[in-house]
Amino acid sequence: MSPSAIRRSAMAGFLSQLLNGFQYGLLLFLIASGLTLIFGVLGIINLAHGSLFMIGAYVTFLVVKSTGSLWLALPVAIVSGLCLGVLLERFLFRRFYHREHLDQVLLTFALILIFEELRSLFVGNDFHAVPVPAALDFSVPITSGFSYAAYRFVVIAVCLALAAALFYWIERTRMGAVIRAAAEKPEMVDVLGIDARRVHLTVFAVGAALAMTAGALAAPLTAVYPNMGDGLLIISFVVVVIGGLGSVSGAFWSALLIGLIDTLGKAYGSTLAVGGIGGVLSAAASMSVYILMVVVLLFRPTGLFGGRT
């Protein structure tokens, strides 16, 4: 290959990693925005949020297996996410708003165990691939020699649409105003006599539905497998820490940042592994997200994008 051809293919690889990072960041946002809202408004630490992602992916797998349609799976995931969220809030989480963090941690840890065992009981412990719909099973040519999977563009588009809807809901509607107020000054919302219970129920249900939608979108990309939400839960916590607690826009920018850093760090970290110092750099690249969190904690303990302690 001529030098210019090599440069072009390296460039194409970099572009596709950028797009992967962007798409990963958007999926992270769907999970992290629910986490940050549920904590900001309800004061609940939901460790089972990663399990909701897993459930969304498995619901998609089951729907695709029985009907063959991914287009049906998406609304099913959203609606069942809303229903599951309502049930969880109404019968469990509502009792835990005034309880200590320890109780919330253990409640949600118990839910993780129960969800994973039910999954194992009904679907089993195997890996399952979820096929990309035939209509989208092609690559979009972008430049000569570089193309990108069409389904990933659809994921990006759906995530952006959901993010836009979420921002509209939070920033422009009456309930959104109450949610922002509740995340900032909960006493004031109580004093004004606003029915907080309806707000709590809605926020929890929306958060659960977002996580399950993320799982549904990710299913064809990663396949479905046990404990698939575990790693994402931790990364989403990092997103929330960096974005600032209770801040949806903070979660958005920090999710994109982390999606890009994580993807690029993992893609190019191994190329640094030459010699002793290279090995260290390579390890650092694969942990770049955590290193970023440490730096943010040192200099901006309340998060990069505003938020509060």
């Binding site: 840890f109 118990a110 820490v241 904690l297």
Partner: protein
């Protein structure tokens, strides 16, 4: 003692009961089958881990989800200095394992104690997972499969106790008695700490950190000291695990380990140090029963945790005294002003 310490036995009778419990444990191996000797050893190791975490959760009001990492790190330290076929004596491995756990908890604590409440939980969780990924993703400690190690030799003053030299039915005894000794030592060390000025300051921080700051205490330094001591004691428990099992895998480091330890504390009762021990034994007994009754051990565990957290507010230690309320935690006093919290304290 001028005044009873909240988390310690409140009467002479209670102390005697505790000593009797230790006495029963000392006799048990001669009564039960070797399988249960092993299970009891595992339960005592769990109790040590829960005890060490209790210094943070019960005494200081800090809920950490990264505590399992120090436990696992210590076990991996034993693997690194005493790999299969090259055993080292306990007096070398134990200090090094505790040192490794102590150094890690110093770094993690210094960074994560800059945050409070919810942030503290998430940051300790993230740091714990960072240590987890070091052992899970690299070849350093055998990767995802884990690795066998040479169990540290129980030796002192040139004399070595070789389990293989004992009759078959007694080979698990050395590890059992080392674990029992270490459990008693851990409890007494923590009891001493809680009764000292240091423990009183931690209690003050738990109830009202602002007031302690106003009184001139550098509360961050006290919290960091508690975090490091708890980390080192967790390291001692992790060392004991390596001595007992001779095996390490990433599961030891993961956050589920921390959650299990928290569960033991909750099961036993958050207001009592000995509750962590009772909770650990209850946890392993539950696991054992669940395993015999059903294949779905984790499902049973999940449902029991759910019931415990819903209905058993004061843990096993609180069953006899229903009127005793759980004390407030630090997070509720100085933590984030979330919607729910406002009603409770406003």
């Amino acid at each position: 003692m001028t005044e009873a310490v909240r988390m310690l036995p409140q009467s002479r009778t209670a102390w005697v009961a505790l000593a009797a419990g230790a006495g029963v444990l000392a006799v048990l191996p001669w009564v039960v089958t070797p399988y249960y000797v092993g299970l009891l050893t595992t339960a005592m190791i769990g109790a040590m881990l829960a005890l060490s975490l209790h210094l943070l959760v019960g005494a200081t009001g800090l809920v950490s989800l990264g505590h399992g990492a120090f436990y696992g790190l210590a076990a991996y330290t034993v693997y690194l200095i005493s790999p299969e076929g090259a055993p080292r004596p306990v007096w070398q491995t134990l200090p090094l394992a505790m040192l490794a756990a102590g150094l890690a908890s110093l770094v993690v604590g210094a960074l994560s104690l800059r945050t409070k409440g919810f942030f503290f939980l998430m940051v300790t969780l993230a740091f714990g997972q960072m240590i987890f990924f070091v052992f899970h993703d690299t070849k350093l400690g055998g990767g995802t499969d884990g690795a066998y190690l040479a169990k540290p030799l129980i030796s002192a003053f040139g004399l070595t106790l070789e389990p293989q030299s004992l009759p078959r039915s007694q080979r698990a005894f050395p590890a059992y008695y080392v674990a029992l000794t270490q459990l008693v030592a851990t409890y007494l060390a923590l009891a001493f700490l809680l009764g000292s000025l240091f423990g009183r300051v931690l209690e003050g921080i738990r109830v009202n950190e602002h007031r302690m700051v106003a009184m001139g205490f550098n509360t961050n330094r006290y919290k960091l000291a508690a975090f490091v001591i708890a980390g080192m004691l967790a390291g001692a428990a992790g060392h004991m695990w390596s001595l007992h099992s001779g095996f390490v895998n990433p599961e030891l480091v993961g956050w589920h380990k921390s959650a299990e330890a928290l569960l033991m504390i909750l099961l036993g009762g958050i207001g009592s140090l000995a509750g962590a021990i009772a909770g650990a034994f209850a946890f392993y007994a539950l696991g054992e029963v669940a395993q015999q009754v059903t294949e779905r051990k984790l499902l049973v565990e999940g449902v029991v945790i759910l019931c415990a957290v819903l209905f058993l507010r004061n843990g096993l230690m609180g069953i006899g005294s229903p009127r005793k309320r759980r004390p407030p935690q630090q997070a509720a006093v100085t933590g984030v002003p979330a919607a729910g919290k406002a009603g409770a304290h406003g």
